[in-house]
Subunit: 249 residues, 2 copies
DNA sequence: TAGAACCGTGTACAACGTACACCTCGTTTA
DNA sequence: TAAACGAGGTGTACGTTGTACACGGTTCTA
């Protein structure tokens, strides 16, 4: 299938035209996307094959191609549909707003971990994803930041959530594939621990014995607090006020 | 191929036993891993097939299986081999040490962007990766942090570099696949920009017109400074000293 | 010198996305 | 009202992937 990116744009940003002729369609783009999301939620992104999606709809693989140009475009549609599920109007001062933005994103990733395996740099941005980002920009406008800085601040938060989310998503996927929980799995790695000697890994073994791996801090909560603290230092910096010549709104 | 994780451990942590019988081997585990890394560097992770690796060595696909149990294990070996390429002894006070740690990681990801597509949660950690992490722990020891906090601080930095790196890796891969640079590609998305109207995306269009997308801030530099600032707030916090009962080292 | 251990090859299979030709409907037009 | 048309869904088939399996050649050990 040749990739026509402008068709992807139409697919995402323009409502699909309704057919005026032919038999009444049992399927529809929306139903295909919905079914695909269900498959991904329940069985992971590896199980997301055209045959599997079609099967859950009671159809054959090729029937999907009447409603979706190809798998890549189906993924585009799935991603944007999920972005549309969450509220995206953070309120309040910048810190609370960004925190809300991050927590919503986090909740979404927890519900649909496969999203992180699909969001790559050139996936076509859809209206839902863009609206969400726009709302985040609004939260940090009015602080005297330049346009570039607004983008950088929001990107920093998004990228943080993506990072933590990816770790979480990998865990979820591994648990599903192996049927073994994270803790159980690592506990069963006796053959590995044997190599963790104080000579080879002095700090790691020390931390190990101090119980540093037993009750790890929540990665999301810890990291989010640090990132927001770091942004506060930047936003409230006095020197920055000098550079605020061409600010954005 | 059934997955035997304990065999993966031996593969990574114990030097391969030399054969005493049979014909002199043209291939070796090291040569296979080296060839695979070259393929991934030059052609990306998608081109990394057993057939392709074998081809660059002048052999058949199945010959690789004499030296590597399967593709998954080959990836394990590639990842750890690359971790071994860089110096991993950051020095100096904690901030400089963590910065060095982050910059080394960043340089490595720039040289081998495919690494980010292979590091998933249950990939078996190898000696090189662990040694590196151990050195990072050492950098933030002696600050009165608890064991959990040491782990959390290092994880925060690693995860930040992973996040920025992943964005960069996606870009590199997309540029290779399409043969079109990032800027060219987005500039050609006329059909997309048409939908970016002030009514739909007020902040985005405003930022756009203010030139916020023309000279974006360096994501790595901006983010790293913020993360380290955030960690400084945490490390130097006075209240934290009260909780420092069971510190590590 | 026989046999065991090891190296590399060729063939084959199951899954994947999807191109293609086809039949079956329902609507539109003459 | 009949013919033409366009759309929905199916079945078959192909190329690509990882890798199981059986085989033949090579070199050291008993």
């Amino acid at each position: 299938m040749k990739i026509d990116r402008d068709r992807s744009v139409r697919l995402l940003w323009e409502p699909p035209a309704e057919a005026t002729r032919g038999p009444r369609a049992a399927l529809s783009q929306a139903r295909v996307v919905e079914a695909a999301i269900k498959v991904a939620d329940a069985e992971g992104v590896d199980a997301l094959t055209m045959r599997r999606v079609a099967e859950t709809l009671g159809n054959t693989a090729m029937s999907l191609y009447r409603h979706v140009p190809g798998k890549s475009e189906l993924l585009d549609l799935m991603v944007d549909a999920v972005w549309g599920e969450t509220e995206h109007t953070p309120r309040g001062p910048w810190r609370e707003g960004l925190e809300f933005f991050a927590r919503q994103m986090w909740a979404m990733y927890r519900a649909h971990p496969w999203m992180l395996q699909l969001t790559t740099s050139r996936r076509m941005p859809g209206p839902q994803a863009m609206t969400r980002q726009d709302a985040a920009f609004a939260v940090v406008s009015g602080l005297g930041l330049s346009a570039e800085e607004i983008v950088a601040v929001v990107t920093t938060v998004s990228q943080f959530v993506d990072g933590v989310g990816r770790t979480m998503a990998d865990r979820v996927q591994a648990e599903r594939e192996t049927g073994v929980s994270e803790d159980e799995w690592w506990n069963g790695r006796e053959a590995l621990w044997r190599h963790f000697t104080p000579e080879r890994l002095p700090m790691t073994t020390r931390i190990w014995h101090a119980g540093g791996y037993e009750r790890p801090l929540d990665e999301f909560e810890f990291g989010l607090a640090r990132v927001l603290d770091g942004l506060r230092v930047f936003i409230e910096a006095e020197e920055r006020t000098l550079v605020r010549k061409e600010t954005c709104q």
